[in-house]
Every structure is written in structure tokens, then in C-alpha cells.
Amino acid sequence: MSVDLATVKRVARLARIAVTEEDANRMVGELNGILGFVEQLSEVDVTGVEPMTSVTPMEMRKRQDEVTDGDKAADIVANAPATDYNFFLVPKVVE
């Protein structure tokens, strides 16, 4: 499988990365190089093989569903580019 310019632009949109025409053109070649490299996986017979979901055959640890941490609003917004009253500020999303 290989990608064309339209696919690269669609994927960039899905990934929320703005690309110029020049970027997109360069990426077509690079992505096809990588996709060509991974293509060899299709020759592996995986009949009856389960996909790996975890490298360690251990059950994931669970805990009681209770509050163990919090009350750190100032810490949470401390690194944000724009905040007001402990809210993150973003451009208007509703007219």
C-alpha cells in the first residue's frame, strides 16, 4: 500500500498538523519509504496467532474507586499558555 498527496493531507488533518504544499509533497516520499519497509510483515503467516496486548502476562492492578489526590487546581494550570480563574482559555468555539 502507498499514500498519495491527498492521503497525506487527510492524515495531517486527522493528526492536527498544519502542512504546507511543500511539506506534504516531501512527506509522500518519506511515508512511502517507511510503508514500503513495513510491507514485509504481510508475508508472515499469523494464522491462529493472538495479537499482543501486553508483554507481561500479569493482571492489571486495580484499586478502590475513591479520591486519593486532588485540590491542586493552581498546579494544574501553572504551565498553561492562557488561564483565567483556574480555567484553561481557548479561542471561542461557540458563536
Binding site: V11, I17, M27, E39, P81
Partner: protein, 493 residues
């Protein structure tokens, strides 16, 4: 008197104990060494002298009060991937500009709890994506090693290039690092240092910037096997904050050094003998085999038939996980923001400006292989191949093999701004061909220096072990180290 910075962790530990010098004196010696070297090597991207001296002073006070931790007073460098409270933590990316977390990663907290001192944050490939440390927003790191008779600057490998360079150049006593596909072991091999990627789940991932969550593991880069054992003992823990942290006590790794490898079965996988591999690497491998045989180990030929599929499977799984993990960088909660005409425009412009070329490439690949219609062909197939890669190892270990010996890298360190590698991403990816299988199977792997090539550059061997049998790796690596000796670059910086 010997230069304080030339001491290993184990040596400094004894001399601090004997009160030959204080942690403040040792820390000052390292800060001076960093001052003199960093303009050239670019190993540190943030030095924290005040914090270092405060921590050293507190350590000296603890020692005076009789409270001595396992790393008491030892100055360390920390890879920029680990969250350190109120200190530069950016995974060497532009998109995390100005980020200073309000929390501490579990791994670094463990080190401070054991008395260690932080010298600063170390350079790395952006988001740990790279094999040469050239994708860092803060510029390339320079390897303290140079080829004989050459002035060409070489890369220290990556992604933990700052860690490896700093340890090799004696700009810290030891360093933290992380390994997703070879990022501890390849730079260790390129700089004549020791690096271990422990079993997945051994070190907590809490507070470590995520790249590919099913593959990422922290580990140390150190000057010798003993120091790596000392550091891993402190870094590893059982952590309730990381659900993949394994509930097993951390052994005393140092105690396994000096134990015999007599009767141990060492597997030699034929699939690691690849086309175009330099003669010197093959020679080094044979030398390693001979050393272990001399020490009484039994050498057995083994087969790991799916080895060649590990790297292509990795370049589906790792980018897929990365595209998901890196979705959080959107200019809202931390780091860089580039304003746009609406919120989506802001996201797209922020991510376009904030991520470097290699990171964008991997996010794009990951997004593509996870997108509707391609998931089964790429991602699901890769996860099935991953099961087969792990099964290869299980079969070999079930047959009685205790550890596997391979080369660590297919070459010694290459030049900065190598054109052939820069123009072909896949060629750069091939650097991890011997290391990536270990991440795919979640196993422990150690890189130990084993010799110099004809150009006088260090080469390493890799030992791969069973899950949570890091002790076997330390024991065996120590035998190789005893035979090979240690390698230190001649100072030119």
C-alpha cells in the same frame, strides 16, 4: 589526588564514606567539568547548579547525622524525559517550551530518596525519537570519542545521547535514560559505557514523558557494570501510580557481580548475523563468545526466526502509540501555543511549529496505520507478529538458555549530519536492528563495551535475559567487562 570526576559511583561511595571529600566538593567538581565541556559536547540542556549544591549540602548533613542512602551524595544527570519538579522538562521538544512540572517522576524521586544529587537535565532526541540525538530541539550532542587521527565530530547515538555523552566524558557519575527501541543500549555502545534496559514493568513509567507506552522503559547509563547495578537498584520500584509496574521486590543487583557463569547456557542467535555487517562486529561477537566459554559457560546455537520482522513491526506499533500519546500537545494546557483563527487552526499551527520533522513523520505514520480501513492490515498484523517475536524467545528460554549474546549495534558511532542517514529515515532506523526485538518482547537487555574498532571507536555486546532476570545479565556482563577492560575517551574538549 585523583580527579574527583574520574571516580565511579562505587569508588565515590567508598571515599564519601571515608570522609575523604564531601558531596559538595564532588558536586562542585562535576559542575566545573560541565562548565568546561558543555559548550562543545552539548550534553546538558539545563544545568541546575544551585539545586545541585543545595542537594549536596543536604546530603552532607544527612551523612553527618548518620543517615546514608544507597546513592548518598552521588551527582547524577537526568534525561529531559523525566519530570523533575520546577525544573526544565521538555523531552527536548519545542512544543513543551517553558514546561516545568509541579510533580516528580517516580524514578527520579527514588534516586533523591536514596540521597542522589541532580546536576541538570540531559539532551536527547525529541520525544526520544531518534538514533543519533540530532532530532533534539536543542541541537546535536557530540560524542566524546573521536576516530584516531580524525577531527570529525561523531554522534553519541540516541535517543539517550546526552546521557551517554555525559557519562563517557565524566560530566556526571551516572545518568538516567530510557529505551523504547534501543535508546539506552545503542548510545551506551557508541560511547563505551554500560546501559541496561530492564524488563518492561521493572521501573515505573509514572512522570516519564510517554513515547510508546507498551515499549518504554527507564534504565541507567553508567561507567561500568557495577555502577549500572547500583543505579538500577535505586531506579526500580513497585509503584502504585503505574498500573504496569510489576509487583516484585527489587533484588540487590550488585550482589550478583562476581558470581560465576560456569554451566550457564548462552544462546547465539544465527539471525543476528546480518548482511553487510562489518567484519569487526563479527570478530567482537566471537571474542565475547570465547570469553564466556573461558569463564565456563556453555555456548549453544539458537534460532529466533522472526527477528527480521521486529523492526518493521516496531515502526507500526511505536508510531501508532506515539500518535495517540502525543495528541495531548495542543497548545491548551502546557507549552507552546501558536494562535489561529479558531481552535482547530490553533491546534494545527501549534503542532506544526512545535514538533520537529522526525516527530511529525512518526505521528503521521501512526495516524495512518490506525485510520479506518488500515488498522487490520498494519496495526493488528504488527501486534500478531509481536506475539511471534516473543514466542521465539520463550521457546529458547524454555529449552534451557539462560541468556542470549548478540552485537549491540551494526556499526560504531557515525558522523554528525551524515547525509546518507539524513536522506533516508529507514536507514537511520536500522541502527536499532539488534536492540528492538528486546523491547517488542518486553525483555531485559544490557549493552556492555567489549572493545575498540580499527578506528579506535568503542563497540558493545548485548546480553538479553529472561523477564525479571536482570541479575543474570549483570553477572554475565561483568564477566565480559573483566575480560575486555574499560574504555575511556582521550580528553580533547
Amino acid at each position: 589526588m585523583t580527579e574527583l570526576t574520574s571516580l565511579t559511583i562505587a569508588e565515590a561511595r567508598e571515599k564519601l564514606k571515608a570522609r575523604e571529600f564531601t558531596s559538595v566538593e564532588l558536586t562542585k567538581a562535576y559542575l566545573d567539568a560541565i562548565d568546561a565541556a558543555n559548550g562543545v559536547l552539548n550534553a546538558y540542556i539545563a544545568v541546575t547548579p544551585e539545586k545541585a549544591l543545595d542537594m549536596a549540602k543536604a546530603s552532607d548533613e544527612r551523612r553527618a547525622a548518620g543517615k546514608v542512602g544507597a546513592l548518598e551524595g552521588i551527582p547524577l544527570g537526568i534525561k529531559d524525559l523525566f519530570a523533575t519538579r520546577d525544573v526544565h522538562t521538555q523531552a527536548c521538544s519545542h512544543i513543551l517550551d517553558g514546561f516545568k512540572p509541579k510533580y516528580e517522576s517516580t524514578v527520579t524521586q527514588n534516586l533523591w530518596d536514596d540521597g542522589a544529587v541532580m546536576l541538570g537535565k540531559l539532551n536527547m532526541d525529541e520525544f526520544a525519537m531518534g538514533s543519533s540525538n540530532e532530532t533534539s530541539h536543542y541541537g546535536a550532542v557530540i560524542n566524546p570519542w573521536k576516530a584516531e587521527g580524525s577531527n570529525q565530530q561523531l554522534v553519541p547515538g540516541g535517543s539517550s545521547g546526552g546521557s551517554a555523552s555525559a557519562v563517557a566524558a565524566h560530566l556526571c557519575a551516572g545518568a538516567t535514560a530510557t529505551d523504547t527501541g534501543g535508546s539506552i543500549r545503542q548510545p551506551a555502545a557508541f560511547t563505551g559505557t554500560v546501559g541496561i534496559k530492564p524488563t518492561y514493568g521493572r521501573c515505573s513509567r509514572w512522570g516519564t514523558v510517554a513515547f510508546a507506552s507498551s515499549l518504554d522503559q527507564a534504565g541507567p547509563i553508567a561507567r561500568d557494570v557495577r555502577d549500572a547495578a547500583i543505579m538500577l537498584k535505586s531506579m526500580a520500584s513497585v509503584d502504585l501510580k503505574d498500573t504496569t509496574s510489576v509487583d516484585l521486590p527489587v533484588p540487590d543487583y550488585e550482589a550478583s557481580l562476581g558470581q560465576s557463569v560456569k554451566g550457564m547456557k548462552i544462546g547465539i542467535p544465527k539471525e543476528y548475523r546480518i548482511d553487510g555487517m562489518p567484519e569487526e562486529i563479527e570478530k567482537l561477537w566471537q571474542q565475547g563468545i570465547a570469553w564466556l566459554k573461558d569463564a565456563g559457560a556453555e555456548i549453544v546455537d539458537i534460532t529466533l526466526p522472526h527477528t527480521k520482522y521486529a523492526l518493521p513491526a516496531y515502526y507500526i506499533v511505536a508510531p501508532a502509540e506515539a500518535s495517540s500519546n502525543l495528541a495531548r500537545y495542543d497548545g491548551v494546557r502546557y507549552g507552546l501555543r501558536v494562535d489561529g483563527k479558531d481552535i482547530v487552526d490553533m491546534y494545527e499551527k501549534t503542532r506544526a511549529a512545535g514538533f520537529g520533522t522526525e516527530v511529525k513523520r512518526r505521528i503521521m505514520i501512526g495516524t495512518y496505520v490506525l485510520s479506518a480501513g488500515y488498522y487490520d492490515a498494519y496495526y493488528l498484523q504488527a501486534q500478531k507478529v509481536r506475539t511471534l517475536i516473543k514466542r521465539d524467545f520463550e521457546i529458547v528460554f524454555d529449552a534451557g538458555v539462560d541468556a542470549i549474546l548478540t552485537p549491540a549495534t551494526p556499526s560504531s558511532a557515525f558522523g554528525v549530519a551524515d547525509e546518507a542517514l539524513a536522506s533516508d529515515p529507514v536507514k537511520m532506523y536500522l541502527n536499532d536492528i539488534f536492540t528492538v526485538t528486546v523491547n517488542m518482547a518486553g525483555l531485559p537487555g544490557i549493552a556492555v563495551p567489549a572493545g575498540l574498532d580499527a578506528k579506535g571507536l568503542p563497540l558493545g555486546l548485548q546480553l538479553i535475559g529472561k523477564p525479571f532476570e536482570e541479575e543474570t545479565l549483570f553477572r554475565t556482563a561483568h564477566v565480559i567487562e573483566q575480560a575486555a577492560g574499560r574504555f575511556t575517551p582521550a580528553k580533547w574538549w
